[in-house]
Amino acid sequence: MPLKVTTCGAVCAVLLVAACGSGASAGNPAKAGGSGQPKPGGRLTAALSSAPDCLDPQQAGSSTTITVTRQLVDSLTDQDPATGEIVPWLAESWKAESGARRFTFTLKDGVTFSDGTPLDAQAVKDNFDHLVKLGARAVQASTYLSGYRRSVAVDARTVRVEFDHPNAPFLYGTSTTSLGIVGKATLAKPAADRCASGVVGSGPFVLDHYTPNQEVVERRRDGYAWGSALAPHKGAAYLDQVVFQVVPEESVRVGRLRSGQADVVSLLQPQAAPQLRQEGLALETRSPAGLVYSLNVNVSRPLTADPAVRRAIQKAVDRRQIVTTLYGSVYRPATSVLAGSTPGYTDLGADLAADPAGAGRLLDGAGWKTGADGVRVKDGRRLSLVLRWFSTYAATQSALELVQQQLKVVGVDVVLKQTPVSQALQAFKDGDYDLILGDAPSADPDILRRYYTARGLNAVRLPGGPLQTALDGQAAESDTGKRAAQVAAAQTLLVRDAYAIPLFEGSVIVGVGARAHGVRFDSAARLQFHDAWVS
């Protein structure tokens, strides 16, 4: 039944927006970057699409939870969404040694948790030691701490983190909420309790209360003075309160923004964007870094084992057509398996240009002859591929159908098969698909290794070889330039050998009301309210 609601959401929103479009002029164009002098005080209301399932940033990975807890918990470092560079936050400096096996952080002086206890080297060590024990409860954190040996509190402000094997992505991990630093009182609690009652952090806001499924209210922490290097101001937040409302229906979120009942609303569909802009509502769009929406190719299957078939698919897909017809040009055609904002991204747009004629020639050359029903045949075998996609990608279904049509033109039949997300692990294990849809936001290129490595779920059934070497190589390289070269090599192999068919870069669309200023976005386009104020 909730599914039905959501399905209507998109349709009804479009209908209703069309119906009451011209008259409404609730919002004025406002810049999220802020205009005028920040004004302290007031309360900002943000409408989120789902309830935070767990109020502990170290355990939960949902976008909503991260947004809600980001305001409560600081991290050792921050990441500049424009450059991907890691910059100081709780740590004022750090160095990586012995081939990304040892990281030493120097902490800022005088930082305290909201319960008054000091955030010192011992606190950081305790956090990492505890995180490792959380295991599968903290999936994200576990990947960043892969190979963790121990932490040493050298002195009150210096902490050294040691790994058994090189772990270059760890530094990026320290900028995420997954490795956000929580107080001793929180660490002492059982994991399930932390989810329910929230955590003690050192952030610019503290939790006021949480009404499940309805709202999370946070209030300013006075005396905060250690904003990240990215924050225009370091001191206490301007807002008295931030209220996160849980509003599952997109059309209702839009309505709240229009009528001024909400100041910031998240996760709008690209189809609605042009209309909302026309009404004068300010929209912020951000492409999250990480893996773009791609069809990953299972090379262990007889048909897709043929490189000619894979390369033909790569050429037959018209990415521009997908974004212009379906996503109002808010999304962008993929130019690599990585989104443009990911550090180490390489532009392979030339390899990903639509070329159906070229695709046909490739298939002809490989001996695939067009059969009576328009589908190519070779040695009595039809070129018919199974494309599996998880139920969580419902919003992408029309794009898959368009790809299906585009491939049909060159004589490749595609059968779309939807799989409940609860069966995802099983689907990867069984591997009974030729193509599988996936995307994975992450602001570190190591996401390539996590997704494609032969030692993981191995969606593409990578046999090892140069791609695996490049994937492992980048994770062991602490020199930024050398690491980028490995990342570039991996992207090139994935695209040219067509292990992955990148489709498009998604976008997070956030509506910002006229009252709201100074809302910042992190690299995954999630909201930060430390500098926000209302007029």
Partner: protein
């Protein structure tokens, strides 16, 4: 009916209720276990993000929650705990299930209560007016309204009300937490199909009774049309509608899933929707049992009300 008969009747009903609750508990357990995947896989992301979670760590979590024990042991364990009023903790949020239900139940009960309070007079009024009027066109119009009300999808009604009343006219808030004013739109949305169903059944009942000979007798004795309609016809036509009311309350709790989602309210419906999506077995079972208790109670009250309306009805089906 003597007091002893009454006691015997109630005892039998309570035994039936216990059976219903046990069946609800058992069925929800079976269905949730038949679903593919398990709550731990869903909790750890199910691999959809491409991250391989260490199988040993997943096994450890499964062990912690007891999902690795034989099914029969898990079932009996849960049943024994449930008999002591303990449904365990939510797998996703770690909150005790009863605490979760205690926060959601009042909101849903208030909402359904308001919806019934709106639906009964609206449905009854519509049915009475439709059967009373002598203008055929008005009668046809009034009688077609209930079918429309039943046919309109609840989420659509809710969205339209929100767009028009809250966002365009700005008469009422759309938020779930803005006090009594925020209750109006969801209650109206929920009341529409309920009122329509009641009106349909009541109108048909009234039509049937109007053809009974005693109505003519009443007219012949000189009673006014309105008086005959309200005093003589309505009480005899109300029994099927009352039976329906018991069912409608169950349906209202189902529709609450949709209404609470559209209106961004907390409540049993939202808790259910979230828990089913995450295959959060303890929560779903808790909600199912609590909902069953509510529905059993409502139907018992409805049955107890029959003799008050029609003295010919004897509880327990036997004349005393």
């Amino acid at each position: 009916m003597t007091r002893r008969d009454m006691a015997r009747y109630l005892a039998r009903r309570l035994a039936q209720a216990a059976l219903v609750l046990w069946a609800a508990f058992t069925l929800s357990f079976i269905v949730l276990y038949l679903l593919p995947g398990d709550p731990i896989e869903i909790m750890t992301g199910g691999g959809a993000s491409g991250d391989a979670v260490d199988p040993a760590q997943i096994a450890a979590l499964r062990h912690e929650y007891g999902f690795d024990r034989p099914l029969a042991v898990q079932y009996l364990d849960r049943l024994a705990a449930a008999l002591h009023g303990d449904f365990g903790r939510s797998v996703t949020s770690g909150v005790p299930v009863l605490g979760l239900i205690r926060t959601g139940l009042p909101a849903t009960l208030t909402l359904t209560g308001l919806a019934v309070a709106l639906a009964v007079p609206a449905g009854a009024g519509l049915a009475l007016l439709a059967t009373y009027t002598r203008t055929p066109r008005l009668r046809r119009l009034l009688l077609s309204l209930p079918s429309l009300g039943v046919a309109l999808p609840t989420f659509w009604v809710g969205l339209v009300l929100l767009q028009v009343v809250s966002f365009r006219l700005r008469l009422l808030p759309s938020a779930g937490d803005a006090g009594p004013a925020a209750q109006v739109l969801p209650a109206v949305t929920l009341a529409v199909p309920a009122a329509a169903a009641l009106a349909q059944v009541l109108a048909r009942g009234l039509d049937n009774v109007l053809r009974d000979p005693y109505v003519e007798t009443a007219h012949a004795k000189g009673a006014g049309r309105l008086r005959v309609h309200l005093r003589h016809v309505a009480p005899n036509a109300v029994i099927p509608a009352l039976t329906l009311l018991g069912l409608v309350i169950g349906e209202l709790m189902t529709n609450a899933v949709v209404v609470e989602t559209v209106f961004s309210r907390d409540g049993l419906g939202r808790i259910t929707a979230t828990a089913v999506g995450a295959e959060d077995i303890p929560v779903v079972q808790g909600v199912v049992v609590v909902s069953a208790v509510v529905i059993v109670l409502v139907n018992l009250l409805v049955d107890l009300a029959y003799p008050l309306l029609d003295p010919r009805i004897v509880l327990g089906g036997r004349a005393s």
